[in-house]
């Protein structure tokens, strides 16, 4: 939690351009401070880990961002590269518009947890990309379990997407 608060404080202090999208997201403030995803759900927590890293770390890659997000999760995770086209969690809709992407999730678990980090193509509309992800994602992508929330946010030239339970407790 301390780590999260530190990151949130850091993000609030930075005056960087950042476009955000997603139903759970607060619009950018007039002072252009980095917005945060409101709420205390798992998705909001992880999005708020992602945002400052995506905006401030010039050496960031989709892999390093995903690894940073999942570093403190209580289960072992895997990060796998993906290419534009059919992606797990979006039915038969092809997801395009990104130049690099990774999928991440539990190495072995039935927790309905599936995330992506995308680097947008040059000139791509990140907000529209987030909306596409939210529109076509399937919370029951594996049929037998169901995620509880969806988070899609853009930070700099990267997009973070996650379907997951609202909490890992219980």
């Amino acid at each position: 939690m301390k780590k999260l608060l530190t990151l949130l404080a850091l993000s609030a202090a930075l005056l960087l351009a950042l476009t955000a999208c997603g139903g759970s997201q607060e619009p950018p403030q007039e002072d252009a401070a980095i917005p945060v995803v409101l709420g205390d759900t798992l998705g909001a927590d992880l999005a708020n880990l992602f945002l400052p890293m995506a905006v401030t770390d010039e050496s960031a890659t989709v892999t390093s961002l995903a690894e940073g997000v999942v570093a403190d999760l209580p289960f072992e995770t895997m990060v796998m590269p993906v290419e534009p086209g059919l992606l797990t969690g979006f039915g038969d809709v092809e997801i395009t518009g990104f130049s690099e992407g990774v999928m991440f999730g539990p190495a072995i678990s039935t927790i309905p947890f599936l995330g992506y980090v995308f680097q947008m193509e040059e000139g791509a509309d990140g907000e529209a990309f987030c909306q596409t992800l939210q529109e076509y994602c399937d919370l029951r992508w594996n049929i037998c379990t169901e995620a509880e929330e969806v988070t899609a946010v853009q930070g700099g030239n990267y997009v973070f997407f996650l379907m997951c339970p609202t909490s890992l407790e219980g």
Binding site: F75, M80, I108
Partner: protein, 306 residues
């Protein structure tokens, strides 16, 4: 009444031949929801359009498994497909048959074991998509014979005492009477141990039939505790060295216990919950029988396989 009439017409137009006669055409004060309809006292889900890209993806995933883990070993590969309930109400080219043809064409290293002749609608729960374990002895016999792993077994039929309102029940406001779950036990099963993983990926011991799970959210989780990435069933009374690796979805949970007699170890792998790239961490492939057993429902949604 007008809506019901329209639905009846739609049903007749959609289903032809025996299916049209099979359709009860009766929803007491109820409209079909999300493609669920009532036929022969069963709640049946209309199969979505078959997506060739999903079958291709599934075939590619199996090909990856073969190339990465099976090639060069003495493993023997098989595949079997579980038709969706609607397959027993329709005539003509069926989703599972088209998928099976694709698998046979794309994956010639696997022997196809056709389960269709052994199944009918009555082998499935009325309110759920899954098959009933007590109806699968002939399926298990066929599979075990094909894999040279059949041992005669005497089962005891046990009744789970709860009401099983299957996954389709909530989609009707006036659900059918609940299903009853019967599960099969044997002396061999009594001596087996099951090892799986909890939500956080920690190893845990599990029962073959998990009554606690059955009394929880989904009674079908009675069978091998429901969804699991990897499970290993050890059968100390089984033939030494004879092992099965079962790539499966939820249909495999109720079938696997019926294959135990012929194996000293069965490893169940559900690629929805474990990455195919990390299988070497959990399974050492050498000379096992390897059976890919999937429902057409999952294969038409195969991107769920990681």
């Amino acid at each position: 009444m007008r809506k019901l009439t329209l639905f009846v017409l739609a049903g007749v137009l959609t289903l032809t031949g025996p299916a049209a006669q099979a359709l009860d055409l009766h929803f007491p004060g109820e409209e079909p929801r999300e493609g669920i309809y009532l036929a022969q006292s069963h709640l049946v889900e209309a199969e979505p359009t078959m997506l060739p890209q999903m079958t291709d993806y599934a075939a590619d995933k199996v090909q990856y498994i073969y190339d990465t883990y099976l090639a060069g070993t003495d493993c023997k590969g098989y595949f079997a497909m579980v038709p969706a309930k609607e397959a027993f109400l329709r005539e003509g080219s069926l989703t599972h048959e088209v998928m099976a043809d694709c698998f046979q064409r794309e994956l010639p290293f696997l022997t196809h074991l056709d389960l269709t002749p052994m199944l009918d609608l009555g082998d499935f729960y009325r309110t759920d998509l899954h098959w009933r374990q007590e109806k699968l002895v002939d399926v298990a016999h066929y599979l075990a014979m094909a894999m040279d792993a059949w041992e005669e077994t005497e089962y005891a039929f046990q009744a789970w005492e709860g009401d099983f309102f299957g996954t389709y029940s909530p989609r009707l406001t006036a659900p059918l009477a609940p299903d009853r779950i019967t599960y099969l036990t044997s002396e061999t099963m009594d001596g087996c141990t099951v090892t799986g993983y909890d939500l956080m990926g920690r190893v845990q011991t599990q029962p073959i039939y998990n009554l606690e799970k059955a009394n929880g959210g989904n009674p079908y989780d009675l069978f091998l505790s429901g969804p699991q990435g990897i499970q290993v069933i050890e059968n100390p009374q089984g033939p030494a060295g004879k092992e099965l690796v079962l790539f499966r979805d939820s249909f495999g949970s109720s079938l696997a216990p019926l294959l135990l007699e012929g194996y000293s170890r069965i490893t169940l792998v559900d690629l929805r919950y474990v990455f195919s790239h990390s299988l070497a961490d959990y399974v050492e492939f050498s000379d096992q029988d390897v059976l890919f057993l999937y429902s057409s429902l999952l294969l038409n949604n195969s991107l769920a396989l990681k």
